[in-house]
């Protein structure tokens, strides 16, 4: 298959040489990505170790499970404890709430079912009309269209939704407002971009003078994105470039965006450990409020305990520290017994570092 060429070691070597050639020799450069799958590629293929000493790639809040605030997990747990069957993606089952995660609620007798797609939740509701189901809809713009699509088809009324979808560009903008966080370029998430297209990122080069490269997920994609970012830094330019042209078009996926617009409206939302970000969350439009689990169960939890004592997820999530700089990492907090949400989500930076060699061989600059 052609995509295998995007793993070509010889090409990777050549790009690495070019990176070394054009990288600034002394200044410390930090390139920030905002996608767990990018972190996986970078950690799995040891890409940080290929870069010059003064060039690092840091991970932003790109794990949708990690950034769901505890208060929204608490709401999901509450519906399950009240007798509804909670339906969620696999890693969302273990995401910590203030008191417990959905899977711990299951240990207390709640009914929890793990699915691969929202489609499975709809099928369950059709098969078991006498049971109430709540789908815990977590995910960025990549996932939100599938939730929208099923809601717009008006599924059975015994299925309702806790919509915890979040939008990536506002979180990127938030990061640029954190004064003591150095970011010299963005690598924008390829799969989010297949849906939203390029336009939402224009603000970064235009307003913030930030080089921004939309990139795919094979090692060649990521290396090329790093090269493109360094080329802009060297040339002192700031533009929006698309490395992932095989999947990302300027306009994104128009159909998917239209479904999202019809089902949801954009509101401000809390992100675990980061606080409230304007225009960063989705909620059901009035026409579909009959599917809102908040309304159906009369629950609205505003505050929760996002970060357990000692946990540094809030700093890991913005790339301020590396997982290895957290005192709990691989001591009290492990993939088997996670404490913070970054060790829970399959795209969480701590979990990825724990499961790849990155954790034992961190690059520090």
């Amino acid at each position: 298959m052609l995509w295998k060429d995007f793993k070509d070691p010889q090409l990777a070597r050549r790009i690495t040489e070019k990176i070394r050639e054009i990288a600034p020799k002394r200044d410390i450069i930090k390139i920030c990505h905002v996608c767990g799958t990018h972190e996986w590629t970078i950690s799995h293929y040891g890409i940080r170790s290929l870069l010059p000493e003064n060039v690092d790639v840091i991970a932003g809040p790109g794990c949708p499970v990690c950034i769901v605030p505890a208060s929204e997990v608490d709401e999901a747990v509450e519906t399950a404890l009240r007798g509804a069957t909670l339906v969620c993606f696999g890693d969302a089952a273990r995401v910590p709430g203030s008191q417990m995660s959905p899977i711990e609620a299951k240990a207390k007798g709640a009914d929890l079912r793990i699915v691969y797609s929202v489609i499975d939740a709809v099928k369950m509701a059709e098969r078991e009309p006498n049971r109430d189901f709540v789908f815990f809809a977590i995910g960025f713009e990549t996932t939100a269209p599938s939730t929208a699509s099923e809601i717009l088809k008006r599924p059975p009324r015994n299925l309702s939704f806790l919509v915890s979808h979040r939008l990536i560009p506002p979180a990127m903008e938030l990061m640029l407002g954190i004064g003591d966080l150095q970011i010299d370029a963005f690598i924008a998430p390829g799969h989010v971009s297949t849906v939203i297209g390029l336009e939402p990122y224009e603000i970064f080069p235009k307003v913030y003078r930030m080089p921004t490269i939309v990139a795919g997920f094979e090692p060649i994609d990521v290396l090329l994105a790093i090269y493109m970012a360094l080329r802009q830094i060297r040339n002192r330019t700031a533009t929006l470039e698309n490395e992932y042209r095989r999947a990302v078009k300027w306009e994104g996926n128009v159909k998917a965006r239209e479904l999202m617009r019809r089902a949801f409206k954009v509101i401000s939302g809390n992100w675990r450990g980061l606080g409230r970000i304007p225009d960063s969350a989705l909620t059901l439009r009035e026409e579909y409020l009959e599917y809102d689990a908040h309304k159906k169960y009369g629950i609205r939890i505003k505050r929760g305990r996002d970060i357990p004592p000692g946990c540094r997820c809030h700093l890991v999530m913005i790339g301020k520290i590396k997982p290895t700089e957290c005192p709990l990492f691989m001591k009290a907090c492990t993939p088997q017994k996670p404490i913070g949400s970054c060790m829970v989500g399959i795209e969480g930076t701590c979990r990825i570092w724990a499961l790849t060699t990155q954790g034992s061989n961190p690059k520090s600059i």
Partner: protein, 82 residues
């Protein structure tokens, strides 16, 4: 969870398609968000195809980058084509 995996469409039945992820893994995916035909590669995420992969664009990207990386520094203007 933003992981999306390329798969080839082998059968279409309305909004649903059978997709081949390779290695003998064949699953059903909803293709209502994309305009896809049998034989197309799509990116599948959480049961939905979210985009059709452009094979020619992929080949072109690799070809151009190979050419550019072989080129000397002075020919770097060609980079602007990407």
């Amino acid at each position: 969870m933003c992981l999306a995996v390329p798969a080839r469409i082998i059968e279409i039945n309305g909004d649903l398609a059978k997709v081949d992820f390779g290695g003998g893994v064949i699953r059903e995916a909803n293709i209502s968000l994309v305009d896809a035909r049998i034989g197309d590669y799509v990116l599948v995420h959480a049961g939905y195809a979210i985009q059709v992969l452009d094979k020619e664009e992929a080949e072109e990207t690799l070809r151009l980058w190979r050419e550019i990386l072989e080129a000397e520094e002075g020919r770097e203007n060609a980079l602007e084509r990407l």
